[in-house]
Amino acid sequence: MNDTILVVGGGPTGLAAAHGAASVGRKVVLVEKADRLGGAPILSGYAKLVPSGEWAKDAIGRMIARVESNPLATVHKSTRVTALEGGPGNFSATLSNGQQVQAGAVILGTGFTHFDSINKPEWGFGTYEDVVTTTQVEQMVGAGRIACPSDGRTPERVAILLCVGSRDRQIGREWCSKICCTVSTNLAIEIKELSPKTDVFIYYMDIRTFGLYEDKFYWTSQEEFGTKFVKARIAEVTIAPDGKRLLVKGEDTLVKRPIVIPFDLVVHAIGMDPNEDNPEIAKVFGVGLEKHGFLDRGEHYTSSFSSTRPGVYVGGAALAPEDIDTCVSHGLAMAMRAVGDLAALARKAA
């Protein structure tokens, strides 16, 4: 029997799982398709994370360093798993770099894909330069300056549109991406910190800053940083006659009237889609997908983080939209599951 743990995906989930398994003395092989570890927060250059307020490169950087420096962990970057044979205690994985990995359990932390705003053309992304996504604003905050991409001016007025690519039957996305309300209220704070004269408006259907993020982000953003909240789902973003500012059109449901408001910068709070690789992942690893296209999970109460294939565990944003803190817990929990199940197998064999 082999008790090496194969972890696929080097984001917060995979990094926590890899460290967890190594911390109890198991050998770990981490396979990451990108050329760097860290997952979305690193690959997309997030600025300060909620709720810690730490820069992503510092916080996630520590998680990466902890795994990369661990003698029990072998990391394969720019690599994928192309085939997986066997079962609990004796899996055999083929990697795209030609290597074979023998492992007792497999942990999938393959995460999500950012919603591509091109799929909502009426909101102007791809048509107007000054329509951007939350990831782009994260990068602006990281670089220390908020600017309109068209001409580099500091925006006087910014609109953040929530639920872009979430909660929308039109485009087959019937889920809430969970973190974008919190991320957006936090970005509004960061914009205000960098450019105190800029007014930020958030267009919402609901505000879902769950748990302790309610007062820490939503209330603070509104009460201390003057973020204004407008209850409207925007119909269309067009350009003003001056060819410069953008016009945000919709219905303000609270004044029951149409609105056409000029803005300098419009930000899409993009949602978390199922990883675009999921159909392939499902085939390679022999696991099921749930109806939205995320990886399916088994019974959770007594068989936590099991996928539909014994010995293969799944957690983090691969399961559903999740925040980093939750993903870290999923990673650790999966390490526990994998190590525990292998120990049970070993006892049975003895």
Binding site: F201, Q222, G226, K228, V255, R257, P258, V260, I261
Partner: protein
Amino acid sequence: MPIHEKSLLDPNKVLTAEKLVIDGVDVSGHWNTMILPRTVADYDPDFQKTIRALPGGENVHRCWQCGSCTNSCTMYAINTDFNPRYWIYCTNLGLQSEIVKDKDIIWQCVSCNKCTNICPKDVRPEGVMKALAHWLEMEGHTPKSRSSMFDEEFTRQCIERGRIEDSEVMFKFFKASGEDVKALLTGGWLRVFIERMNNLPLLKAGRIGAFLARLPITGPLKMGWMMLFKPRTRSWARTGAVLAAYVEEQKRKAHAHG
């Protein structure tokens, strides 16, 4: 041309022209009615600051539109046009015209504070109603309220003399508010007030001695004397000047916000 469902329209958005010529074509009669769009075309981000600078309006920006205030409101129960939640929203987005449109109802808030007691965000809507009524008055959208007239005279005396003279305050207040003092004395509350101060039943019963013994004499005399000589608190001049300067400064600040 007749408009169906006219009730859905804002009356001041419907324009009817007696004679109308568009691009040289006379369209009077048949096409003489225009409906202006109701679109909100901009926000005034400074309006919220103006209201926050007025007493009572400080927390208006906290509102998240749950509607608890309106739901609990004494006035809303009587008139569904009285909607504090809505005015708070318009304040936060700077939709001043919406506030002005309701100028004739906003002041009707009875300060019962049910809204303030129920509000989960501690917005203190009752205070916001006061601030809005105050703003409407300041901007001349509504006539000066009687309480403002009273406050003005009261404050003037405080600043000038460091004390107030009750009867002078009342006298000037009555004058400013155009109150008919004679009518008050003969049939209004002032008459009731005087009757209660003086024990009239004693007079009616013919017990003149007992009646006179209870007659307030020194008080009114002193009042008359004070009204003539307008005494000041000692060495008030400097304090008064400082106070006046402070009040001016606060006003300027509130204005700068707006």
